[in-house]
C-alpha cells in the first residue's frame, strides 16, 4: 500500500547520497524522472488491485486509499514529472545545485503524496511540513542571488505562520472532540453540528486561515507575488503547480472529509475569501509588468474561482473544483513551459515586454503561449473556458446568481492582462535587449531541447483537446467524490 511513497523515498535518498559525488546532472534528472514514472505505475497498479479485491478504502484510521487519494496522487506525480522534465536545462544553466535540487523535489513529492492520503491529523501535518520545508530550501537554492534568499525568508515565515495557525485550529478541535482521526471525527462533528461550542468554531476558523495561507488566497496572499518573482523559474513552477495541487488536497481532506458537517461555519468565510481573491487577483494583475508577478496574481484569482465552487460543499461542486484545478494546472504549466524554453544565458525573460515579437522568431512557441493565455483567461474552445463554465453553471443551479454574475464580470477584467500578453507576442516588434548588442534578442532559445519542447506542445495540445472534448475528464472528476 505504501509502494509509491516507498519508491519516491528510496529515489530521494539515492539521489541525495550519489549527488554529493556525481556531478552529472542529466543522470540525476533521469533517475528522478524514472522513479516518478515507476511511482505512477505503482499508484495505478495498487488502485486497480484494491478495486478488484474490494479492499477497504481506509487503513487503520491513518491512511485513505479512496478515489480522491488516487486522483490527487496521480495528478501530483504527472505534474511533477512534467515540471522536472521542463526544468532540466534551466537548472543546469542557472547553477542550481543538481543533487540537492532533485533530492529536495523528490522529498517534496513524497510529502505531497502523504498529504493526499492522510486520514489523520498527524499524518496530514507531517506530510504538509515535509513538502513545505523542502520547497523553502528549493526557493533558496540559488544561494548567490539576493532576491531568491529574500523570497525564501518571506515564504518560510508565512509558511510557518500558516502551519502554526493550522495546528492551533487542530488542537482546539481535538480538545472539543478528543478525536484526531478523520473518520470518527467527522461522525462526532455530524452529531454535534447544531450545538457546537465556541471552541469548535474558533478551531474551524484557524484551520481555514491556515489553509488559505497555503493556497495563497486573498487576504492571505501577500507572499505569493514576491515568492513567484524571487524564486528560480523552475522552482516557481513547483510552487505554482504541484504545491497548489497538494494545498487543494489538504483543502479536500479538511473541508470535505472532516469539517463538511460544519459547513454553516466555514461556507460564508469561503465565499468571502473567494470573491475577495477573484477581485484582488484580477485587478492587481493588470498593473504588473513582470511576467512571474502577473502569473502570481493570476493564480490568486484562479484559487478564488476554485473556492467559489468549494463553498457550495456538495459532491458535484467538489468535482467541478477538481476539474477547475486540473485546468489551472495545465494552463500554468504550459505558460511557464514556454518561458522556461525561452530563457537565455545572456537574456533572462523577466518582464512581459521581453516577449515582444516572439511570433516572428518562434511561431510555434508563440502559439503555445497563446493557447495557455486563452485557456487561463477562459476563451471558448479551450479547457479553461469549460472549467469556468462548469463553475458558473453550478452556481446558477444553486441559486447563487449574484456570485455567478460577479465572477463573470471579473473574468472580463482578468481577460485584459492575458490578452495584453498576446498583443505583445503577436503585434509588437522585436526589440534588442541591449542597444550595444543588436544581435541578442530576448526571445532566444536556451538550447534546442527536444524533450522539453515536446512536453510544452503536449501541454498546449491537451488544453485544446480537453477543451473541445471535456466530457471524459468531467465524467472522471464527477466519479471521484
Amino acid at each position: 500500500m505504501w509502494i509509491p511513497e516507498g519508491i519516491v523515498l528510496l529515489a530521494a535518498i539515492i539521489i541525495l547520497l550519489t549527488g554529493l559525488r556525481l556531478k552529472n546532472a542529466k543522470l540525476l534528472a533521469g533517475l528522478a524522472r524514472f522513479s516518478l514514472l515507476l511511482t505512477m505505475l505503482a499508484t495505478i497498479l495498487i488502485k486497480t488491485y484494491s478495486w478488484k479485491h474490494h479492499l477497504d478504502t481506509l487503513i487503520s484510521e491513518l491512511w485513505f486509499m479512496d478515489h480522491i487519494a488516487f486522483v490527487m496522487k496521480l495528478t501530483i506525480e504527472i505534474t511533477a514529472w512534467f515540471v522536472l522534465g521542463l526544468g532540466v536545462h534551466y537548472t543546469q544553466h542557472e547553477d542550481i545545485g543538481s543533487g540537492e535540487y532533485y533530492a529536495l523535489t523528490l522529498f517534496a513529492v513524497l510529502g505531497m503524496l502523504i498529504v493526499a492520503s492522510a486520514a489523520h491529523f498527524m499524518v496530514l501535518f507531517v506530510g504538509l511540513e515535509l513538502f513545505s520545508l523542502a520547497i523553502y530550501a528549493l526557493v533558496a537554492s540559488q544561494c548567490h542571488i539576493s532576491i531568491g534568499i529574500e523570497a525564501a525568508i518571506k515564504y518560510f515565515v508565512t509558511g510557518a505562520l500558516a502551519s502554526g495557525l493550522l495546528l492551533y485550529g487542530i488542537s482546539l478541535i481535538y480538545g472539543a472532540t478528543g478525536q484526531l482521526a478523520f473518520v470518527p471525527l467527522m461522525q462526532d462533528l455530524g452529531v454535534i453540528a447544531n450545538g457546537h461550542s465556541l471552541l469548535i468554531s474558533f478551531g474551524v476558523i484557524c484551520i481555514l486561515v491556515g489553509v488559505a495561507f497555503k493556497l495563497g488566497v486573498a487576504p492571505f496572499h501577500m507572499w505569493v507575488p514576491d515568492i513567484y518573482e524571487g524564486a528560480p523559474l523552475s522552482v516557481m513552477l513547483w510552487i505554482a503547480t504541484t504545491a497548489k495541487i497538494a494545498a487543494f488536497a489538504i483543502l479536500v481532506r479538511l473541508l470535505w472529509n472532516v469539517l463538511a458537517p460544519l459547513g454553516s461555519i466555514w461556507q460564508p468565510l469561503v465565499q468571502f475569501l473567494a470573491l475577495l481573491s477573484i477581485l484582488v487577483g484580477n485587478t492587481a494583475a493588470i498593473a504588473q509588468s513582470n511576467f512571474q508577478r502577473m502569473l502570481a496574481y493570476s493564480s490568486i484569482a484562479h484559487m478564488g474561482y476554485l473556492l467559489l465552487a468549494v463553498q457550495l460543499n456538495t459532491e458535484s461542486a467538489w468535482s467541478v473544483a477538481l476539474f477547475y484545478m486540473l485546468s489551472y494546472v495545465i494552463g500554468t504549466l504550459t505558460a511557464v513551459a514556454v518561458i522556461l524554453l525561452l530563457q537565455h544565458k545572456h537574456a533572462h525573460i523577466k518582464q512581459i515586454n521581453d516577449l515582444c515579437g516572439l511570433h516572428q522568431r518562434h511561431p510555434w512557441l508563440a502559439f503555445i503561449l497563446l493557447l495557455a493565455m486563452f485557456s487561463l483567461a477562459g476563451v471558448p474552445p479551450l479547457l479553461g473556458f469549460m472549467a469556468k463554465w462548469q463553475i458558473v453553471q453550478m452556481l446558477i443551479e444553486q441559486q447563487q446568481i449574484g456570485y455567478a454574475i460577479t465572477a463573470m464580470l471579473l473574468t472580463i477584467v482578468g481577460a485584459y492582462y492575458y490578452l495584453r500578453i498576446i498583443k505583445v507576442i503577436y503585434f509588437d516588434d522585436l526589440q534588442p535587449l541591449d542597444p550595444a548588442k543588436p544581435n541578442i534578442y530576448p526571445p532566444a532559445l536556451l538550447a534546442v531541447q527536444p524533450t522539453a519542447s515536446i512536453m510544452a506542445a503536449l501541454c498546449g495540445g491537451s488544453l485544446l483537446f480537453l477543451g473541445i472534448f471535456p466530457a471524459q475528464l468531467l465524467q472522471f472528476c464527477l466519479q471521484v467524490f
Binding site: 491529523f121 539576493s146 525564501a152 505562520l161 484526531l180 504588473q288
Partner: protein, 101 residues
C-alpha cells in the same frame, strides 16, 4: 487549583504574542524565528493540556511530532538566514524590500 482553562489561556496568550511578534517586528530576523518557535510551543501546550484533560496519549504523541518538525523548521530557517547574512552582513528585516510591485 490550576485547571484546563488556565493552561488554555496561557497558550492563547503565548500564541497571540508570537503572532503579534511576526506582524509588528521590524528589526531582527532572529526574532521572527523565535516567534515561530513560540507559536509551535503554544500549540504543544494546548495539546498536552487537552491530552491530560481527556486522559488520552494521542495528544502527547502529537507534541513529539511537533517538536521534531519544529527542530527541522528552525534548522532550515537558520540556514536561509546564514545565506542572507553572508550577502548583507546584517539580520535587519527592513532590508527585505527588493521584491515589490
Amino acid at each position: 487549583m490550576i485547571g484546563l482553562s488556565h493552561y488554555l489561556s496561557v497558550s492563547a496568550i503565548i500564541f497571540s504574542i508570537s503572532i503579534l511578534g511576526l506582524m509588528i517586528n521590524h528589526r531582527n530576523l532572529i526574532t521572527l524565528l523565535m516567534c515561530i518557535e513560540l507559536m509551535l510551543l503554544a500549540v504543544s501546550t494546548n495539546f498536552i493540556a487537552f491530552a491530560r484533560y481527556l486522559h488520552q496519549p494521542a495528544g502527547e504523541v502529537f507534541v513529539f511530532l511537533i517538536l521534531a518538525v519544529a527542530a527541522a523548521e528552525s534548522a532550515i530557517g537558520l540556514a536561509i538566514l546564514v545565506l542572507w547574512f553572508r550577502q548583507h552582513h546584517s539580520v535587519d528585516v527592513e532590508q527585505l524590500n527588493r521584491l515589490k510591485g
